[in-house]
Symmetry: C2
Amino acid sequence: MEKKQKRDSEKTRAHILDVAFLEIYTHSFQAVSIDRIVSKTQVTKGAFFHHFPTKNDLGYTLADEYLRDMMQDRWIKPLRRFKDPLQGVLHCFKTNIVDMPDEFLGFGCPLNNLCQEMATVDPKFRDILASVLTMWIEETKRHLDRGKEAGYLKPETDTLALAEYIVTMQEGAFGISKTLRDRKVLQGLYESLKVYFELIKVK
Amino acid sequence: MEKKQKRDSEKTRAHILDVAFLEIYTHSFQAVSIDRIVSKTQVTKGAFFHHFPTKNDLGYTLADEYLRDMMQDRWIKPLRRFKDPLQGVLHCFKTNIVDMPDEFLGFGCPLNNLCQEMATVDPKFRDILASVLTMWIEETKRHLDRGKEAGYLKPETDTLALAEYIVTMQEGAFGISKTLRDRKVLQGLYESLKVYFELIKVK
């Protein structure tokens, strides 16, 4: 393939994923049709099927690439800026959850939504979602380990258990928010998490 | 209505709710048809429609009565047996989450599932689910208040924030379990919650 052709093809694929993400995030995976997604893109149905032969292929790619990158960008990469990873986790919790835009308060976390919707329905979907969730936990752990080595966390801290606890709390907060839509509750969860971290920190 | 007739009618209604609960819990609300539920009961379609004119009526009643009672039975009533409510919360977390039967490990919490599935789809459903979730938080708070008065919790404890944190953690654990299906993770969350409670307790 020519270089330009290849670049255009990659652009089309990325454009489809952008559109599909927002449609699925706001309407759920099962409720959204390929026709609906195609109608919101600038591409033909033929081009769509060239990239994603089935709706499931689209869903798998969305989870495996798009959501994996999003979790990295929103929850992992910002931790690099913090010498103390617990400060970094609190920063991410505030930015991504407590301060989320009003219009998304009832929509929850796109990864958690797909997990809740598809994990029991489709084993392949579940495997991909589990691998993204595991990556999120492992990468959080890696930063906690770095913090432990640098003396910010108590030496006896079980960083894997702590990373699992943090990710569970984050996904739980998104889940509760979908139903209660109450920012005060999210602020309270943030304060409680802060109290918890005080316990783990080396004074 | 005759007494016996009334009793039979109540029995039929309860039987339909029992069957509907299990079908919806294992297949989601939107995926289950009325025909499917009726075929698994001992009742006629006419009797079904007498009690629940629409599928939404069934869903609302399931959340408002059946799940409300279930949350009371599983998460609130057991707390009465514990002078220290934090011990009670840990007991419930262990019984209802860490030790849940293998076959349900991937199914999550029935209330959380309905919240995740229906809160963005149907405002009336959301209102009912929010009221059940709020009841769960308020009742947990009531037991924490009792424990605080009895001197088990530090006097400065914000019991509402703590109740919200506990319920979020429980729902988060169910959510994570649906995708990871790993009892070790649940055991780790239990240990982390225990560590947290050590901080709040009066020594």
